[in-house]
Assembly symmetry: C2
Homo-oligomer: 390 residues x 2
């Protein structure tokens, strides 16, 4: 009835998944071995060490969770929040809203502070909230809002929270490897990410790290963690030291082959070099799109280089443009999410997708499609601008 | 510091993961596309239809969850159990114990009925429990206990539960495709499985199905599902009909390529042919091992053909035998789990691993290793017995 699925190769420049590096695709096709095989235990140990480097942390509990980034978020709140705990969430997009949802589902008392979508969180807002709520236990926020392309000042926010004796939960799904994530430097307690953004890996895993202090809180809970699958008291035993691992679940073996390869690629390039590459390609994209007359949605100093929100010009059918890019050029860019639906495009330059050839493809394809639909753009100037910036 | 991981190819005859079919490995390495790409939506739709055939159900909510089988178990209880609900769990191994754990974590009132490990659940035990607890809302049990290699009579148990007005949750992690799973025929309400057993797929996904009746219960809960990630009210929207999908999380694209391919392979063979193959190779393994003088742990009528529990002969260091099989023949068999640790081996003949050449390899390797360690076995007769049975 059905035939084997043969995906049309695309260039993935949306908010994720991003293009997967060919080395990673090859790694995922290696023969599956047992999840208790000594060879696999060695792989797990290497992944832990590599993830520590990537997160810039010495946290012993630094592992990939066997589920996507949303499970990373859930694990963070499931382990730290007990019924009645006061949790401050700083929201400036869709994913901060999910954090709030997690707090209430686990019985926490939510203090929700809103920021305009498209703007970074103001540390002053947190300072005042901590004064007003001296009994708060946890502060949660998104470092890199995937819905708005905004980077907030994680160092400043973590410092304020820590000063008030709060634990911090920081969403680094879109930031990790695309710009600096410094878990120990920030003093963050729980940080999670996803594999399908700047790591250029297939979606499905959530790199996750937890400070000693947060581990202690998890170990000394009054009530059991609601989620058996995400209970770090059990997951820790599975990813534990040496050969004393306790069976918990069956690890996604081939996905972890892919992650291991992605981490090797990241370490070969080096973190500062990867951040610089993301910044450089962002500059080139910006030069091209601004020359065309398109506007960026986020103030320059708060932008994520790896995820660019571009305003849809007046009178343009944004969904049609995306459909044409996909159909005519096999190029995927993202739609706006939540309140930004219909108003912006989200153009990702993440990981392996953050390359000059992709910048050029995106700018020229957008110019071609917008021109042919009579959108009010400047023609014939964007490519020179890109060329000058790469 | 580290080099790309190059796994030593093994033959996987433990309790899972089982050998992954080469077609599936190849499928997982195909280029990643976006999870909202129309081509990917088509893949999701095909997977749903194929999973319905595999589960023998018309349930509209029939999807793979983006996490391993343990998340499938958790999703079942997270969605159906509300605080105070009375839940009867029939336990005859490790995984029934996990079900009990799930009930209490979600605030259910647990009625736990134990059966000796290595024996099927007695329907009479359930009949009496349902009389004693007319207010029970849910009955949960494991169809194929991965820790003991036992198959229980799911049809009889579901019928009793349904007769008493209870919803049923049935763990089919190890049974699906290795022996009959008939969701609609049984009248089961929530059934979950894993990809790493008889589907011969990489670990990491949980095929999952929910009856109309169970969906209604989920939609009309008094309290929110504790898990945002596994809340079927949200997951349904993501896997919903046509193009009206609501973004929930990023699907594990490449893992789903693998599952799609696994489902095509299963449908090419046909369900009755796959069950018959598993039965035939079990008979051959049994002939060989019994000729050698080894004993099966489970009474014949209650055995799973795809997972064989074999008693460790007196005086034999079982861990050493497994280590030697792995080191000398790249053959993985499983250890006992829970109270059976040290007492049995678990030999899987699941999916792609259920082939005559694997039966022969396992029997001959066991004979070679046991002989060279002076274990009390009959020598030189096992291979003829296998040959007569294949």
């Amino acid at each position: 009835m059905f035939v084997p699925f043969s995906p049309i190769p695309r260039t993935l420049m949306g908010p994720g998944p991003s293009d997967v590096h060919p080395r990673i695709l090859t790694a995922m096709a290696r023969p599956t071995i047992g999840h208790l095989d000594p060879e696999f235990i060695r792989l797990m140990d290497e992944i832990k060490v590599l993830l520590q480097s990537l997160f810039q942390t010495k946290n012993e509990l630094t592992i990939p969770l066997s589920a996507p980034g949303s499970a990373g978020m859930e694990a963070s709140f499931a382990n730290l929040v007990e019924p009645g705990d006061k949790v401050i969430i700083l929201q400036n997009g869709v994913f901060g809203g999910r954090m709030a949802e997690n707090v209430t589902r686990f019985g926490g008392e939510l203090v929700l502070l809103q920021t305009d979508w498209g703007r970074a969180i103001d540390p002053e807002q947190l300072r005042l909230a901590l004064q007003e709520h001296p009994d708060a236990k946890i502060v949660g926020f998104v470092h890199a809002e995937t819905s708005t392309g905004v980077r907030s000042d994680a160092a400043a926010l973590c410092k304020l929270a820590q000063g008030a004796g709060c634990l911090t939960i920081v969403d680094c799904v879109t930031s990790l490897l695309g710009c600096e994530v410094n878990v120990d430097g920030w003093g963050a307690d729980v940080v999670y990410s996803g594999t399908q953004k700047c790591l250029s890996c297939a979606p499905g895993l959530s790199p996750f790290t937890m400070s000693e202090r947060a581990v202690e809180v998890t170990q000394n809970r009054a009530s059991a963690v609601k989620s058996w699958f995400l209970d770090m008291n059990l997951v820790m035993g599975y990813w534990g030291k040496g050969t004393t691992r306790a069976y918990h679940h069956t690890a996604p073996v081939n996905a972890l082959y892919g992650l291991h390869e992605a981490l090797l690629i990241a370490m070969d390039e080096g973190l500062p070099a990867a951040w610089a590459r993301h910044a450089r390609n962002h500059d080139a994209l910006k030069a091209g799109l601004e020359a065309m007359g398109l506007k960026f949605f986020v103030p320059e100093s708060e932008r994520l280089p790896q995820l660019n929100l571009v305003e849809v010009p007046e009178g343009v059918d944004e969904a049609l443009v995306r459909a044409r890019l996909l159909k005519e050029y096999n190029l995927e860019i993202g739609a706006g999410l939540g309140v930004l639906a219909g108003k912006v495009w989200r153009i990702g330059l993440m990981g392996y997708a953050s390359r000059p050839e992709n910048v050029l493809l995106c700018v020229s394809a957008l110019e071609a499609v917008l021109s042919s639909s009579n959108a009010p753009i400047n023609r014939g100037v964007a490519l020179d601008a890109v060329q000058a910036a790469v």
